[in-house]
């Protein structure tokens, strides 16, 4: 089932002569984990912001084409309605934490939705446990580490129980292990709750292993899309920088080793190499 559908969508920010998005057709299915990447300025953030109506309601401009999310037409639906179905997490956690304690932050979105107090309590309890934030319940945001802050930001959106979770470079300000932790948590969330995830990331090494689909954008258009393994081997992948394991895979394949499908992680590559070394060089 199509949760989100963009059909030949183009968008130009007010006051800008160039189109940030040009004839983009994009769909998101239930339970999918899509990794969206591309050079700075390619339109990734713009695409994200259409999904919850920030474009065209918050960011004015010229929107062409059809955009439907969770059954609503984005053009005629205000963000506070779309926010029930699309949760959005941004790059800098500092700008997503408005209140004086973690607990109040988690309650905020639910308060805005008019959810009952007892339901809010129940959902906060779940979120504190799932995200391992229970001891930090009463802490103010400036006393949290970057990784903790981002967890709170994600939790505050997840409690609203959206069907789609959009994250625009959520790990940019985090160190690798915190980043890894957050992305792994997202994957668990996806598998347990069936939420669809659209993740915009530059750090492909950490994000690739969870993705069902890899989408590359450039200059406002989707230039490559599909199974991550095949996309990484395509010519277009040169603009996004392929991870070292993929590079190593290519080099070894170039030397005649049949390693099978492209490896996305060191473990995969090591297993593939092991298989070949134990069974012989050229083929199984």
């Amino acid at each position: 089932m199509e949760l989100a559908e963009l059909n030949t969508v183009s968008f130009r920010y007010q006051g800008s002569p160039d189109y940030a998005l040009r004839d983009v057709t994009f769909t998101l299915k239930e339970g999918e984990y899509v990794l969206l990447t591309g050079p700075s300025g390619c339109g990734k953030s713009t695409l994200c912001r259409i999904l919850n109506g920030l474009i065209p309601h918050f960011y004015r401009g010229e929107l062409k084409g059809e955009a439907r999310v969770a059954g609503y037409d984005v053009r005629s639906t205000p963000t506070y309605i779309l926010a029930r179905h699309v949760g959005m997490v941004f790059q800098n956690p500092e700008n997503q934490l408005f209140l004086s304690s973690v607990e109040r932050e988690l309650a905020f979105g639910l308060e805005n939705l008019g959810v009952s107090e007892s339901e809010i309590e129940r959902r906060i309890k779940w979120a504190l446990e799932f995200f391992n934030l229970t001891e930090l319940k009463d802490r103010p945001p400036y006393m949290l580490s970057g990784g903790q802050q981002q967890k709170v930001a994600i939790a505050s959106v997840v409690v609203m129980e959206p069907e789609i979770l959009v994250l625009d470079e959520p790990t940019a300000n985090l160190d690798p292990l915190s980043a890894e932790g957050i992305l792994s948590l997202l994957d668990t969330l996806r598998r347990e709750k069936g939420i669809s995830v659209l993740l915009v990331e530059h750090r492909l090494e950490i994000a690739l292993k969870y993705a069902d689909r890899l989408v590359i954008m450039q200059d406002g258009q989707i230039v490559e899309e599909g199974d991550p393994r095949s996309v990484l081997l395509s010519k277009r992948a040169s603009v996004i920088g392929i991870p070292p394991v993929v590079e190593a895979h290519k080099v070894l394949s170039g030397r005649g080793l049949d390693l099978g499908d492209v490896s996305l992680t060191p473990h995969e590559l090591a297993s593939a190499i092991e298989r070949v070394m134990r069974c012989g060089r050229r083929g199984g």
Binding site: S40, D175, H202, V245, A248, L257
Partner: protein, 273 residues
């Protein structure tokens, strides 16, 4: 060039952020200081130009004791580029931004102008000469900040998280800049947790955790030591991790430490083409 002896520091007399750092940096080295957020990396580099003074211990830069030398004087020799470019742009035009430090350090106007032009060319910013820094893209602003420090030619250049938030092409540009600096025998200190970047451009790696130095040595040695990296909450480079798994299974030479895809290929195929 830089000698740090038993450096201790705390911001508020309560929690010690640096707990006895000993470090020496020679001319022409490219040193990467790595560690998770909160390990004390940024605090450490702020001692290099005297922004912070030691609570205990000594920091000596080019023979000058940072405790008794004013920041403005140390800044002439140690140029620090901080992580967020938006906090480091003070002038109305790109050219003025580059001239700012040059003027402060007493460069004669014609020399200053020449240096600014050179910096703009090297960083691909000439076409923005008379534009406001805020009209540049994020990647360009980052390069402008680096240019603004390089143009007055400090002996030591310190870059705090130069690749954070950058896309692939922007990172490649920064790698080129580092290559250039290496060619000119400049001393560079990088603060980063981007192992793949360090693997390609750094001579030496210093790993920090909790205000202390856990490891200090050539890049290959330190980044090849998976235990130390784990202790510092860093991920090893993907190639190193792959090699490690193969070594544990007895498939490749346990003594080698391949850090690039080609080196790994060489170990696996035994040097055959």
């Amino acid at each position: 060039m830089v000698r740090i002896e038993d450096l201790h520091f705390s911001y508020d007399n309560e929690v010690e952020v640096l707990k006895g750092i000993d470090l020496e940096i020679e001319r022409g080295e490219i040193v990467s200081i790595m560690g998770e957020n909160g390990a004390g990396k940024t605090t450490l580099i702020k001692h290099l130009n005297g922004l912070l003074k030691p609570r205990k211990g000594r920091v000596e830069v080019l023979g000058m004791d940072t405790r008794t030398t004013p920041v403005a004087k140390l800044a002439r020799h140690v140029g620090i580029v901080f992580q967020n470019p938006d906090f480091q742009l003070f002038a109305e035009t790109v050219e003025d931004e580059l001239l700012l430090a040059l003027k402060n350090f007493g460069f004669p106007p014609n020399v200053a102008k020449r240096r600014a032009m050179w910096a703009m060319k090297v960083f691909g910013l000439e076409k923005y000469k008379d534009r406001s820094p805020y009209t540049l893209s994020v990647g360009e602003r980052k390069r402008l900040c680096i240019a603004a420090v390089l143009c007055y030619d400090p002996d030591i250049i310190v870059l705090d998280e130069p690749t954070s938030g950058q896309d692939f092409l922007q990172k490649e540009k920064i790698m080129e800049i580092l290559y250039l600096l290496k060619q000119q025998n400049k001393t560079v200190v990088l603060v980063t947790h981007d192992v793949e970047f360090v693997v390609r451009r750094s001579d030496r790696v210093v790993v920090m955790r909790d205000g202390r130095i856990l490891a200090d040595g050539p890049t290959r040695e330190v980044l090849g030591n998976v235990e130390i990296l784990k202790a510092a909450r860093l991920k090893p480079p993907q190639v190193v991790e792959t090699a490690r798994i193969l070594q544990v299974k007895g498939l490749i030479d346990p003594q080698c430490i391949p850090i690039t895809p080609y080196e790994l290929a060489k170990e696996v195929t035994g040097g055959r083409p």
